[in-house]
Amino acid sequence: MITAELLSEVKALIQEDRIVEGENDHLLGNNGLVKVYPQTEEEISAILKYANENGKKVFVEGNGTKRGFGGLSESADILLSLADYKGIVEHVVGDMTLTVKAGTNFKKLQDYLAEHKQKISLDPFHPEAATIGGIVSSNDSGPKRLGYGSSRDVVIGLRIVYPDGKVIRSGGRVVKNVAGYDMNKLFIGSMGTLGVFSEVTVKLRPLPKYESLILLFFPQGNMEEIKAFAQKLLDSTMEPVTLELLSPALSEGLTGQSCYTLAIGLEDVETSVQYQENFIKSIQPENTNMKILTLTDAQAFWNQFYSLHSLESESLITSASLKIGVVNMDVTQVMKESQLLGDSHHLEVQAHGGLGHGLCQVNLKGSKEDVVSAIQQMRETVAGLGGYVVIKHLPFALRQEVDTWGPKPAHFFLLEGIKSKVDPNKVLNPKRFVGGI
């Protein structure tokens, strides 16, 4: 059998106890006939080299939190898991830089850094399960992007194993670097289609000395009011790190109040945070309620927030998650539209979006026909706003019906050109990315 042959060949590359037979018919796809757990860069390199020279396909995963994110082939020959390729390579406390192996768990990293009063200023979803490599590879970010940016602002260096097995470094270990092309950017968000991350170097930030979270409830749900308030706050000199609008259903799950809610995060020294709280109180619109959570209460809120969307796969109810990018203030339009779609398609909808950065996440649950139809309708609406919809999570079968990435951009030939230069044999994560790359 192919598997037996493959298995024996792979055994020559990596210790036997690091190879398992792949599972079939996973609801989310992205399987491998064999699954390997390399522990060294050499092993990763050897596996890729083997695949490249023998016409094999390789899927890459960290801890599998993004298994439902793209991919049109049910299974590759090899599923390369980085779950056992983990650990800190170098942490220079005084330089505030950190180099880690790609499979390192994000939550554990943050806990470790917290001992040094430092953090990676990313707030991805499912931090307890996600790996740093997966987060960077899928360019995942949360509400705090407003204050701290995303992977492209945080990652300063990468070690990448190319599909032919050679190891390429991009960037470096310093916080400012323009030597050569900024190749880091090419790999961030490339969904593993160009290379396998071996090590990721990030710049760190100090943990805030104090933090609070203002929840501003809008029981009447008047979008114009919400928008006017957000603009007033953004046009002030206050420095919120989040300005996330939560849909009523989402807010109910998190706060117990079923109405549109703004989650305004403040992180700084205590005097500054309190000053900002006071300012926000002073411009609090009529007919709204406010609740302020501080320190651990605020952190608890966010922990719950990042893990709200279930990764459980069920066969009867279809669950989907959309990442939607629009111009900042159009976030309110997206929120309105998701509310309407929920009603018209009998879906359970939880949505949130950042009024300071324009990125929304909409989680849908319902029958598969309704989910597909709602996604399509959302795409039309968002296209009208000049934005895009990317499906972060959808069962494999439905990904054949509705494109994860939406229409190809006009400059697709450039993306294709890059892919074919780096991975001419289409070894890595084939059909996982835009336009079937």
Binding site: M96, G180, V434
Partner: protein, 487 residues
């Protein structure tokens, strides 16, 4: 049909003139072209074939297509303030000057973005939105005159990028003319994370080798509520650089953390914007914090404490906006000010891990002694970005070569401690060979492979950014010969 006023028999000149449409939009006489034989990096010079001045994207596309169809090398140039020679026409390029495309196309305060043409001057953006309390964050020292298009090409930094990031962190969208003349739009509407590889990130800092930017959407920021600026004088360079490390590891994120050493201070004090720094100090730190006013005092106190622990002689905060502006003018004109104490200088741009500052400064001092050339240091200490300025006199035989070697040795010293060869000035012509200090042949090929996707015939700004693999020795010899021929 010939353009009125063009006196040339060269068909390419005539055809290029036709594209731009009038005699004022092309120059081709040697006397005019010589002003374009270098940029802010003057150790390498070459005459362009012509300089053309397009007014819009279609002009640019037509010019590029013409050059591409006729195999004429070409490159784009902004204000020509680059410090690594990225706009020098090494191959007798047709220079496409972007300075007439200098409009601010739109400002959208609600969504915090602005759209500019590439020739729009950096500081003018901030000046245009200042009345509403907004600004554009990247602030290279040349911001009075450098163009945002050039900033994109070089991924320009600046004093305040310690907290706010460099150009790439502020670019939301680009309209680009590819080397075949095709116009593409990347990051439409300035919305982040558009599906696909991050070409915005790749193009920013590609030193004009992948395409010519014709429209830029940038992020604009609200002015911080307050700023506080501190000046700290040190009797020992080591104390100053230790203070830098201490400030960073104390978890303070200053908006800017700048340092100048004794020779640099001598330069700025002899030039147009003196502050009256004491003559006998070894170094000063210029530290700025910004943000919510209520929180700044705590930060300033922390900074002062750190400085005191490191034996600061005097540390004080600016009392007026005027005083703050004076300190910054003194710092920002630092490079040019070297003209006042030396006929020529070579500025380097290494970056090191911040904690290695004392060690590397010591090494640079050794290099200075070894080559018998004074080296001034002006740097963005907060992010470890050093600017050693090698002072020399090109009229003295051998000094120019010695300066080049000393500069290169400084970069080696940075690379040796895990740093890099350029933090914000770019590789250009200047540091092509030094790319080998930080990248292997394979890594360089990985990058030139990407160039081939965009610029397959290498007509656009050829000879920049990369050494030719395996030919490093020959290139060095060729370089030397060229330089000797010029000087």
């Amino acid at each position: 049909m010939a353009v009125k006023g063009i006196k040339s028999k060269d068909r390419h000149i005539l055809n290029l003139a036709n594209i731009v449409g009038d005699a004022r939009s092309i120059i081709y006489h040697k006397e005019d072209l010589i002003a374009y034989d270098c940029d802010g990096f003057t150790l390498h010079k070459h005459l362009p074939k012509a300089v053309v001045f397009p007014n819009n994207t279609d002009d640019v596309a037509a010019l590029v297509k013409y050059c591409s169809d006729n195999q004429l090398p070409f490159l784009a140039r902004g204000a020509g303030t680059g410090l690594s020679g990225g706009a020098i026409p090494l191959n007798g390029e047709v220079i496409i000057s972007m300075v007439r495309m200098k409009k601010l196309l739109s400002v959208d305060f609600e969504n915090r973005r602005a759209v500019v043409q590439p020739g729009f001057v950096n500081l003018k953006l901030t000046n245009s939105i200042a009345d509403k309390g907004y600004y554009y964050a990247p602030d290279p020292s040349s911001q009075y005159c450098c163009t945002i298009g050039g900033n994109v090409a070089e991924n320009a930094g600046g004093a305040h990028c310690l907290k706010y990031g460099v150009t790439t962190n502020h670019i939301l969208g680009l309209e680009v003319v590819l080397p075949n003349g095709e116009i593409v739009e990347i990051g439409a509407n300035g919305i982040p994370d558009a599906p696909g590889y991050d070409l915005l990130g790749l193009l920013t800092g590609s030193e004009g080798t992948l395409g010519i930017v014709t429209k830029i959407t940038v992020r604009i920021l609200k002015n911080p509520e307050a700023k506080k600026t501190v000046l700290a004088y040190f009797d020992k360079v080591e104390d100053g650089s230790q203070a830098v490390s201490d400030i960073i590891s104390a978890g303070i994120v200053p908006a800017a953390l700048e340092m100048m050493d004794k020779i640099a201070i001598e330069g700025v004090e002899a030039a147009a914007f003196p502050v009256g720094h004491p003559k006998d100090i070894e170094a000063f730190l210029l530290i700025e914090v910004d943000g919510i006013e209520a929180g700044l005092d705590e930060q300033i106190n922390n900074i002062m404490e750190v400085c005191k622990k490191r034996n600061v002689r005097e540390v004080r905060a600016a009392e007026t906006e005027e005083e703050r502006a004076r300190w910054w003018a003194n710092r920002k004109t630092g490079f040019g000010a070297m003209g006042a104490i030396s006929p020529d200088y070579l500025v380097q741009d290494g970056v090191i891990p911040r904690s290695r500052l004392p060690e590397v400064l010591n090494n640079i001092n050794n290099i200075s002694q070894e080559y018998g050339l004074r080296i001034a240091n002006i740097f963005h200490a907060g992010d470890g970005n050093l600017h050693p300025l090698v002072l020399f006199d090109a009229r003295i035989p051998g000094q120019r070569e010695a300066a080049l070697e000393a500069g290169s040795a400084c970069l080696q010293a940075c690379a040796d401690v895990g740093g890099t060869i350029t933090g914000e000035h770019g590789v250009g012509v200047e540091k092509r060979e030094e790319m080998r200090f930080v990248f292997t042949d394979e890594e360089i090929i990985a990058q030139t492979d990407i160039r081939e996707v965009f610029n397959p015939f290498n007509l656009l700004n050829a000879g920049k950014l990369f050494p030719t693999p395996g030919r490093c020795v020959e290139i060095k010899r060729e370089l030397k010969e060229k330089e000797t021929a010029i000087s």
